[in-house]
Symmetry: C2
Subunit: 238 residues, 2 copies
DNA sequence: TACTATACGGAATAGCGTTCCGGTTATGCA
DNA sequence: TGCATAACCGGAACGCTATTCCGTATAGTA
């Protein structure tokens, strides 16, 4: 144990489902999530097994540590670094998160969900075209603050293979609905899919040597303008 | 001779300067390029030294091998793989190309030069706006056929640090001149610099899981449309 | 032909990620 | 309450790649 004499359960609580839409997530190799059902005292604890208390504590520590390490060294921070930061051995890290992508998923799940959930809200508050723009802005924000995430998404490293699928599954439908509305009202062109955009924006959100986040935002904005070009509105095109 | 009976000089010849514009390249840690000055017999050969014949042969083999390996495994192909392919030891690889970026530079130099040199030609043959579009298309083509190059450019790995600078130095002015003309004629907006575009397109050219090159081309086209959006009409910015 | 600067190859070193295993501890039951 | 056992822990061991080092071989020259 390096730091934290983890007497008090690490308060991260990063594991329990947060968003309303987190229901459809298919599975989880680590049984980390969902201790919420522990509330009922009468609960049958026959359920296969519940994470042992120390294990749960370690998972929490790891998530907290990973969050920190990701912010510091990017999503490909050395495994040792994360384990040390959490005060556990690397073996423990790998047991709970066999794939790097599992860890990333767990760390960002909440934020991804929040991003997806923002879509209906935006759709209700703005005209379709604006909603798309706003949502993409929010998505950009998310990606840009996690430098390295976008890179990992496209790294080709098998350790991250599960990531694109996961992101697409959560965010695809969200953006898709906004896009449908916007193309229906002819505010943006119809030949670009949600998937196209999600990937493209992720690419544009990668850190660039001496530029800051502002650069990425400007380029995403440029791409969005391309979405409007030839949609039928201001341009005499077509 | 340890290696392969490379009797015939490897015909790559990838080292001698090829393009007219290759004059302004600043330096070269490896003395690989420019054996041309060997012609004059009266030449003071006090000049430090000329590459020994076997060394030159190895450099050629390495460039050829690297080209192949890059195409196969990406620009971060294992050093051993390249050395084996060239029939030399890794020591030889590192002696001639201490940095991974040196090797990449040497392999793609000619193509980068060709790309830069295409700018004046396009400028003469097309209206400014079209010229920009065409040039970017050519640039896209270059990047897309070198899957992994774009990723390396932004990897943050110190081994590639020299790359962005080199690319920018060669391509920046080329695109810059086209851009100036196009903004002058109000065909595209003026608030995006050559550097901005060069980086953005490089980002968009990164390979995406299950999509092909076509995807990257479409996204670049989308970005270019963004360039046209609000060029003269809605945005009278100076 | 003999000599020397130069280059060669691959062994040695170093830093990762990932797996494995002997020891430890929480949990369920008598 | 005390014990048997499954679950868990930490870190050593392993494999892979990049990078450096140095004794040996060779090209070029007198």
């Amino acid at each position: 144990m390096t730091e934290h004499e983890n007497t008090a359960p690490t308060e991260t609580g990063s594991t329990e489902p947060a968003g309303p839409s987190s229901a459809d997530r298919p599975d989880g190799p680590d049984r980390a999530g969902g201790p919420d059902r522990a509330g009922g005292p009468g609960e049958r604890q026959r359920a296969p097994r519940r994470l042992r208390a120390d294990a749960q504590r370690n998972v929490d520590s790891l998530l907290q540590a990973a969050k920190t390490a990701f912010a510091t060294s990017g999503v490909d921070a050395p495994a040792k670094e994360i384990a040390d930061l959490a005060g556990v051995g690397v073996g423990t890290l790998y047991r709970h998160f066999p794939q790097r992508s599992d860890l990333i998923k767990a760390v960002f799940q909440r934020e991804v969900d929040a991003c997806a959930d923002a879509a209906p809200t935006l759709a209700a508050a703005h005209p379709p075209g604006v909603a798309v723009e706003q949502w993409l802005r929010r998505y950009t924000e998310f990606l840009a603050t996690k430098r390295g995430l976008a890179t990992a998404l496209h790294s080709g490293d098998p350790a991250f293979d599960a990531l694109p699928g996961y992101f697409m599954q959560r965010l695809g439908p969200a953006l898709g609905s906004l896009l449908d509305a916007a193309t229906a009202s002819a505010e943006i062109r119809a030949d670009i899919s949600a998937k196209d955009l999600l990937y493209a924006v992720a690419l544009l959100c990668q850190p660039v040597s001496d530029e800051g986040v502002t650069y990425n935002e400007r380029m995403v904005a440029l791409l969005i303008d391309g979405l409007r070009y030839g949609a039928g509105t201001s341009r005499p095109a077509s």
